[in-house]
């Protein structure tokens, strides 16, 4: 076992891991941050997306020891300390961007990465950016709408489908 240390949602965290321990296992099993989900475990579905040094990555396809010294952001750090949702989370709620909620942590983290790179994305750009995030409930339409709304764009003309 090796000690790994990283900053998670602004707080220094460390734990003992094996070489083969995945980042997502460290977050969920060692730190108890179970908001980051494991869907497919094959880097297809995106339920495990977190940010490492500001970049969206699939935490099921990165070893914990590769995040040594990194700044990691997970879904747990997105809302304010008093529980107030951030703009993306609030927009997902407002525009029904989730049903079962399993993919939502990854969707929100991917959306946050997109809006940091591209603050006013078009609908097409959002759909392309979400290529690595699968949702089996919503049909994506309201997810896209929520992200457009979170970026401050008018979504009144986008029909609910």
């Amino acid at each position: 076992m090796t000690k790994v240390t990283m900053t998670v949602n602004g707080r220094p965290m460390s734990g003992e891991v094996e070489g083969r321990t995945l980042l997502v296992s460290f977050l969920r099993d060692t730190l108890g941050l179970t908001g980051t989900h494991v869907g497919c475990d094959t880097s297809q579905c995106g339920a495990c997306v977190v940010h490492v040094d500001g970049k969206a990555v699939k935490a099921c396809t990165m070893l914990a020891l590769e995040a040594e010294g990194a700044e990691v952001a997970t879904i747990e750090g997105q809302a304010a300390a008093d529980g107030t949702l951030n703009a993306i989370q609030a927009a997902f709620q407002e525009h029904h961007g989730l049903q079962c909620g399993f993919c939502t942590p990854g969707m929100v983290m991917s959306a946050a990465a997109l809006l940091k790179e591209n603050p006013k994305p078009t609908e097409t750009e959002i759909r392309h950016y979400l290529e690595g995030n699968l949702c089996r409930c919503t049909g994506y339409h309201n997810i896209v709408k929520a992200i457009m709304a979170a970026s401050g764009q008018d979504v009144s003309s986008i029909a609910a489908e």
Binding site: E18, G19, R20, L22, S43, V52, T61, E66, S110, G132
Partner: protein, 262 residues
């Protein structure tokens, strides 16, 4: 995954040393290797991560005017930073999905030489120089069949050098589930001729379509290859597409690439 030791050296020299261990394996961005380890298709004794080596990351212009990309540079960084070679930057921006592009590296992709990966097509069409810690290998000598390259055990790709063509384009017919190329064609027009490299199609991995190269070198237009086709024999046939389908796609994607080349 089977157990392994993990090493994350900070220099190429330390990584080369770590890779001398028996059954040691280099880890690039891990976007292929980690899934492979999960399936227990590989069982290294030591996994040597290259992600902590700053000297193999980044993009620059060499004194000879070549575009040099560090082996540890991610697809996202190439998409963003290889503006001097727009077709290459566009190719990098179409690999996998955004999260995959933030981890996967050009060196890792070329070392793996997946028969449907995108980078081998760019490297072969550009006759890129694959620079390792030990030597320089021309792309024409580097690709040796599906998942097979000229790399020796423990050899690390430190840099890839591209001569920027006068015009180039990559056309990828996406296999939408895997996001690899069902067929991808990279066309590059240099002052002394045109090179056409095809990925995704052949059981031998990436290959040059020399008949098309000759025709396009004489006349760089889609019409020049209207009568040409590749043989079905040796094409990949699977549930996603037959041999005939892939052979047909090679022609279609080449014409599209020529039309779109800038």
């Amino acid at each position: 995954m089977y157990e392994f030791e993990f090493a994350r050296p900070a220099t190429v020299a330390d990584a080369v040393q770590a890779l001398t261990a028996e059954e040691a394996q280099a880890l690039g961005g891990g976007q292929t290797l980690i899934p492979t380890l999960k399936q227990r298709l590989a069982s290294p004794s030591v996994l040597v991560s290259l992600s902590g080596i700053a000297e193999i990351k980044g993009i620059c212009q060499t004194d000879e005017g070549l575009l040099a990309i560090g082996g540890g540079t991610t697809h996202a960084e190439v998409a963003e930073g290889a503006g001097a070679y727009p077709a290459l930057a566009a190719l990098a921006g179409q690999i996998g999905d955004p999260a995959v592009r933030n981890r996967g590296t050009i060196g890792g992709s070329l070392a793996n030489n997946d028969p449907a990966a995108c980078y081998p097509a760019a490297a072969l069409a550009s006759n890129a120089v694959i620079v390792t810690h030990a030597r320089e290998i021309a792309a024409d000598d580097y690709f040796q069949g599906m998942f097979t390259t000229a790399l020796e055990e423990g050899e690390i790709i430190t840099e890839v050098r591209f001569a920027v063509p006068e015009a180039a384009n990559y056309q990828k017919f996406l296999q939408p589930a895997s996001r690899f190329a069902m067929v991808g064609v990279f066309v590059a027009k240099y002052f002394d001729g045109v090179r056409v490299a095809v990925t995704g199609a052949s059981e031998e991995g990436v290959f040059r379509w020399r008949e098309a190269e000759a025709a396009l070198s004489a006349n760089f237009s889609p019409d020049a290859i209207a009568g040409l086709s590749v043989a079905q024999e040796g094409m990949i046939g699977d549930i996603h597409g037959t041999k005939a389908y892939r052979a047909h796609l090679v022609g279609v994607m080449t014409k599209r690439a020529v039309s779109a080349a800038r």
